[in-house]
Point group: C2
Chain length 306, copies 2
């Protein structure tokens, strides 16, 4: 796959539909070096997922039966929003564990929402059944080329905004976002993958030498709790010098609190997971190494303006 | 006063002490035109006040008795933070009406905090008495040239970041921030001053032809509830073509909710007051008129990570 071309095409395709998100350089968080940050939690529907959703919907024919997706929350909101903006109907299956704030977020997009008992895998089963029954187009949350190319646009945009870092630190769930980063940078920057200890499908896959099923739980599970890493991500990770590490739930919550207390950036636990690698000391940059952190989601629960 | 020189000097003086805050272009909020926004609520201590505080402390000798300030919250936090960073002691008088979240914000800077029954004017009386007794340096919240020049740095910075708008919309309390805008732009951009109906010292002064005492109340009172507009602001406003208007508390709360719901920007009521002028229709741009909105404070209560 010519990822550079795919991502450049995605950038053109979704321009005007997605929010160009701001970047900043910040000191603080108990660190003795500055960090470049991209505030992707300010994206439409509060996460980077809108990029992949628009790129998917705009790059293929949408069946008359509309669209279907399974989601822990953020992807469903993105598909619901993109479908509404583009005039398609969308059915979204969401597991109960997504919680009321994310369920409300999807509902507010106007999507046909189905809450499923259990976890993400249960919602995915039902989405697949609906796809087979109706011919609706499945929008995969992370393991489809159009999704990965859409998420890759985030890094093309960041580079155009003057990204200087040697190293880009990114949270990982199913791997769509970090696959987009690997696909865009192609080794030109060091990429650090950060997962919760309690939901680390990429870390376990790299140890096992192949994607394996993992248990998922913890504060970031509704965003990062993929039971198995995507194959696109895994294949890219195997061929690149990816650094994979994990952080505790306490470290994630501490980073989330620091982002609000010190910088008035309110993010969900998944959105603070990349920073947690620095603030917990799980990743220590070399002397002079310039680091960047992507804040990827802001759909906190409970809704502070609820 | 050569304001251009004063502000350029302030920019140099406070560089490295303040946060360069990001800017973005955003659609939404029920408006059919895009808005440029500067996210000044991401400044140290959560409001633009850190600019004036650092410029004041760095442009004059600090007495051995240290510093004193009266504040509804944001200025006190800024003075406390700047004093701590520069190695000075600071006593801050805060009125009870500031509320527990802003009182905690000041306390966390390490300042010597004094909570005073009543409103801002009561805190100011005690700050003045302390100044006379001890010789501590008073840091005025809005009506001192060093404060205004510091706040003006926000607009010099925005211009350097590529501000394109014809019109800049700014919330007004005591008038230090908008005085900085008038002092910097010198008529080169249209400036719209927005105050809550329940706290509108500038609006009443312009109607009366002179600063007058006003009653203050409402959702933004602890940030915008100045009883009398600053004389520096008033003198600049009289000589410039300033548009002054007011918005209701409901309009402020609706704008604050929209900023979170649509863009994941969590601001305090004062921080949403400028946008409220657009979303309520109090200010309607002409066809083709490009507008910019400053988000000036993010110290929401209760603390969402509290």
């Amino acid at each position: 796959m010519d990822w550079t071309r795919e991502i450049n095409e995605a950038v053109q395709r979704i321009a005007g539909h997605i929010q160009v998100t701001p970047v900043m350089q910040s000191q603080g968080f108990g660190l003795d070096f500055p960090i470049e940050m991209k505030l992707e939690q300010l994206q439409h529907t509060g996460s980077f997922k809108a990029r992949g959703a628009f790129n998917t919907l705009l790059s293929q024919d949408v069946p008359s039966a509309g669209l279907v997706a399974a989601s822990g929350g953020n992807h469903g909101a993105a598909v619901g929003y993109a479908a509404h903006q583009l005039g398609h109907k969308a059915r979204i299956y969401v597991p109960e564990m997504a919680g009321p704030a994310k369920i409300a977020l999807i509902k507010n997009t106007g999507a046909d929402l189905q809450v499923v008992p259990g976890a993400y895998a249960n919602a995915m089963e039902q989405a697949q059944a609906y796809e087979q029954q109706t011919g609706a187009g499945q929008v995969h949350a992370y393991d489809a080329p159009s999704t990965v190319a859409g998420q890759g646009s985030c890094f093309a945009e960041w580079q155009a905004q003057g990204l200087e870092a040697d190293t880009v630190i990114i949270a990982v769930g199913g791997g769509g976002l970090i696959a987009g980063a690997m696909a865009w940078f192609q080794g030109a920057k060091k990429i650090v993958a950060v997962e919760p200890e309690t939901s680390c499908a990429l870390h376990m896959a790299l140890q096992a030498g192949a994607p394996v099923d993992v248990e998922v739980s913890g504060v970031a599970a509704n965003a990062l709790g993929a039971r198995r890493i995507g194959s696109i991500c895994f294949d890219l990770a195997r061929t690149q010098d990816l650094t994979s590490l994990t952080v505790s739930d306490d470290a994630i919550t501490a980073a989330q609190t620091a982002l609000w207390r010190e910088r008035r950036l309110l993010v969900e636990p998944a959105g603070a997971t990349a920073l947690a690698a620095l603030t917990s000391g799980a990743y220590r940059p070399a002397r002079g190494e310039k680091v960047a952190v992507l804040l990827c989601g802001g759909n906190i629960a409970p809704d502070p303006m609820g």
